[in-house]
Symmetry: C2
Subunit: 215 residues, 2 copies
Amino acid sequence: MSKIRVVKQVLEWNDDVSESIKSITSEKGVTIINVMGSPGAGKTSLITRLIERLGDKYKIGVIEGDITDTIDADKIDKLHIPVVQLQTQGACHIEAMSIEHILPMFDLDNIDILIVENIGNLVCPAEFNIGEDFRISILSVPEGDDKVAKYPLMFSTSDCVVMHKYDMKPYFEFDDVRVENDTLDRNPKAKIFRVSSRTEDGLKELCEWVESKLK
Amino acid sequence: MSKIRVVKQVLEWNDDVSESIKSITSEKGVTIINVMGSPGAGKTSLITRLIERLGDKYKIGVIEGDITDTIDADKIDKLHIPVVQLQTQGACHIEAMSIEHILPMFDLDNIDILIVENIGNLVCPAEFNIGEDFRISILSVPEGDDKVAKYPLMFSTSDCVVMHKYDMKPYFEFDDVRVENDTLDRNPKAKIFRVSSRTEDGLKELCEWVESKLK
């Protein structure tokens, strides 16, 4: 009897690869953080602040996901930590298969935290597990307080929601309590932080939470 | 000989349907505008302002694209114009097939302008023609001035780029000349407007341009 080849749907295949990444990082003691949010939510700025505050204590690497270009990877490279630019060439999200391909480019014995900056998009990235240990979703104040209700999947699958550019709150109609309630209604275990990467308010609390989640 | 069924790829099929929509709207004298931008770029606010300024002179209808919920459609409905909510139920863009399905819900003999608010996403919507006569892309100041370089397809396929929330420029590092140059390098024919829906600066010029593009 001939062997039947089974080709899995992308999402199912993606989840298998995600699990396989998790067993590699478990063995190596590496924590993968999947950082998601809209274009311009401030993902790169927040990652930069996390590296500045945690980089002395932990060895950090970054995978920068972008459609094209190396703008964000160039910024991270200036911090003198290992960074790989993943260009999706048009695709609107990162898949686990790409992370699996990139993982051997890092010396995992010398990495404690691998931060993945996902594509700026509130929709598709949420559907794809990428072997992460936890997810941080960023919602910046200028985007408006209705985004959790309008793009629920991302915020309901994240371990942590950061209301970012929080110093800009006086200039926008932004009801932070609505964001908090909309998140907790869908995702009661989510941690919520109010953070400004410019003034650095809220970063201490966020970093403490990140540390508590490391392997 | 049996007839061979040919199933087209989604993008090719989408373009066929887009052309078919165009022949219907040509006959009816309806102009379709595809409004695209990030979550929170201010698409609904800008559309509201366009309706306020053009609604006395032209009969306007709106298709509100959202992943879920009716938050934006409810806002437009208050303006007492025909509005249909298209829920993509997870999909990150609108396809022409959905517009074709919705079109008969409007009395096209009594519509001059049909505005489609696309899903908040700088990536996927740009790939799908939806029978539009022209595209307006919105980039809000708080998102940052690197977005044209990072998400080039949307801005290079748009007839008009609106730098939105322009009254917020003093509070952000935002180089409007960079945005203009990055756009014109990729798309020399693009019209560029600096607009605030809050202060209403720039709206007059944008409305005049929209009027010049109507059928």
